[in-house]
């Protein structure tokens, strides 16, 4: 039974595209057939992070409008045979997508893939609601800061109201992915800690991705972080998150401040 997953957030810059690529690649590494779909029409970044920007010929809008066949637009990943990308158009405006068009594309993808991972644009506008429209599972990406958490809360409200599954009376499965987590700063009170965020959002935690240079390094060379360096902390966190998405019980690794107790005590006192 194929699953439509939407990776969404209220704010931009929290790591949706990075997370889409990383989760998509991690799912593909576990021998499932995965398509990652870029819904961020007008900006188009997923192909860059996936390292496929020079191979884009047709895009999501071409397929949605019937100008191209799905197999013409799908780009197979060079590293993984069962990972495909459906890129967004950079030249068209975000209103070029219609609900009918998206439904047709999703239905067609459903026949060919185990997982369809949709990278949503930020915000609560049409692009974002279309990306979540036909999803069964949502991964809400948030940073441990107040504004990001507030916006994520807003998005969770939309997931419960504006999606097809919600309109049919169902319940969207939702998970929280906390990205750019810096344990030291959380301990010093400069960031919200995991408990605070979970308290406010009250949806299950899928994973905590530590703030790391590996993420930036991977995206700059056009590789999902899970493929770039499988041993790095963010890679392992994403891989664990992907396994949890598939229903596996993986103990949650909450990154802690390894600088030692003294620093933490003094840090706290100063805060």
């Amino acid at each position: 039974m194929p699953k439509i997953l939407v990776v969404t957030s209220g704010k931009g810059g929290v790591g949706k595209t990075t997370s889409t690529a990383a989760l998509g690649a991690a799912l593909a590494q576990s021998n499932q057939k995965v398509a990652v779909v870029d819904f961020d029409v007008g900006l188009r970044n997923l192909d860059l992070v996936m390292g496929a920007e020079r191979r884009v010929v047709y895009d999501l809008i071409n397929v949605a409008q019937g100008d191209a066949k799905l197999h013409q637009a799908l780009i197979r990943d060079k590293r993984l045979d069962n990972l495909y990308l459906l890129p967004a158009s950079q030249t068209r405006d975000k209103d070029a997508l219609t609900e009918e068009g998206v439904r047709r594309v999703i239905d067609e993808l459903r026949e060919r893939f185990d997982w369809i991972v949709c990278d949503s644009p930020a915000g609560i506008e049409r692009g974002a609601t279309l990306a979540m429209r036909f999803a069964d599972v949502a991964v809400v990406v948030a940073n441990p800061e107040v504004s990001s958490v507030r916006d994520s809360d807003r998005i969770i409200g939309l997931l419960d109201a504006k999606t097809e599954i919600a309109e049919k009376g169902g319940r969207m499965e939702k998970h929280l992915l906390l990205t750019r987590y810096d344990a030291g700063r959380a301990a010093r009170g400069e960031m919200l800690n995991v408990d605070d965020v979970l308290e406010i959002l009250s949806i299950p935690l899928l994973g905590i991705i530590p703030e790391s240079e590996d993420v930036l390094r991977a995206s700059n060379v056009g590789s999902p972080v899970t493929l770039h360096n499988g041993a790095s902390a963010p890679s392992r966190a994403y891989a664990d998150a992907a396994r949890r998405l598939c229903g596996a019980e993986v103990p949650m690794d909450i990154p802690s401040d390894k600088k030692g107790l003294l620093v933490r005590l003094f840090g706290r006192r100063a805060a």
Binding site: D153, G157, I200
Partner: protein, 256 residues
């Protein structure tokens, strides 16, 4: 209990307002108005005026011109009525709808009396408002048949969402997020954390109460009296509490 009350009070109030009804041709009307103003130059001072152009069917530019002309004569225009609501913009006075007229004996401008008294029409207006509040509340809520049954919300109320239940209680099984609103005619019960805004007794029921498992609210209101986050004392913040109105002040008491 002895702390000075620092809350800001919000209250609905009705003021009788004079509505000027220009008639066509406007040039002629202005002539008469000017004649009037010559008799009693202070006629419009300290009066709020609404311009009613329902009968004229003017276009937007003409209305703009009319407003300008009147402002030039020292008429303080607080609103426009009888125009397309989509015209609302910064250059025009606010657009009002659903104004109700009261039986005016004679249009005061045309009467041209010196310093006409408004007391009679004021009284009439207040009578009408009192009547409306006592009997026909349906006009404000557009819901003549309202049920007093509680509204049960069995999910969290998320940021940006609003729950309105004009009559009866609201029961939330979950939290109310920061940026969410609950507006209830009756009491509000939240079996979770309140981080947003809760308005109980929003239509004037001062007996309404607010109950919650954990108080982190941005704003609490009971019967039109408000309290913001800053005024919530530290000893009740984060606790299970119960809030009610006592002598026009919201009192918060711990439940456990």
């Amino acid at each position: 209990m002895t702390q000075p009350s620092t809350h800001i009070r919000f209250r609905g109030r009705s003021f009788p307002v004079l509505a000027l009804e220009p008639d066509a041709p406007i040039a002629g009307w202005f002539e008469r108005l000017d004649a009037c103003l010559e008799h009693s130059p202070a006629f419009f001072s300290r009066k709020a005026i609404v311009i009613d152009v329902t009968k004229l069917g003017l276009d937007r530019d003409t209305v703009g011109e009319l407003v300008e002309q009147l402002s030039g004569r020292g008429v303080r225009i607080m609103g426009l009525t009888g125009v397309d609501p989509s015209w609302a913009c910064d250059d025009l006075p606010p657009i009002l709808t659903n104004g109700r007229s009261i039986a005016a004996e004679e249009a005061p401008v045309e009467g041209g009396e010196d310093a006409p008294s408004l007391t009679e029409s004021e009284r009439a207006a207040f009578d009408e408002i009192a009547q409306a509040l006592a009997g026909g509340a349906e006009e404000q809520t557009h819901e003549p048949e309202r049920s007093a049954a509680p509204l049960i919300v069995d999910t969290a109320v998320r940021s940006g969402q609003s729950i309105f239940h004009p009559n009866g209680d609201v029961i939330v099984i979950g939290s109310v997020s920061s940026g969410a609103d609950i507006v209830a005619g009756g009491s509000v019960h939240v079996y979770g954390t309140v981080r947003g805004r809760i308005m109980a007794g929003a239509y004037g029921d001062s007996r309404a109460r607010i109950f919650c498992r954990r108080l982190e609210a941005e704003l609490l209101a009971v019967g039109g009296f408000y309290m913001t986050a800053d005024e919530i004392r530290d000893d009740v913040r984060g606790r299970a509490v119960h809030a009610r109105l006592e002598d026009e002040t919201i009192k918060i008491t711990k439940l456990d």
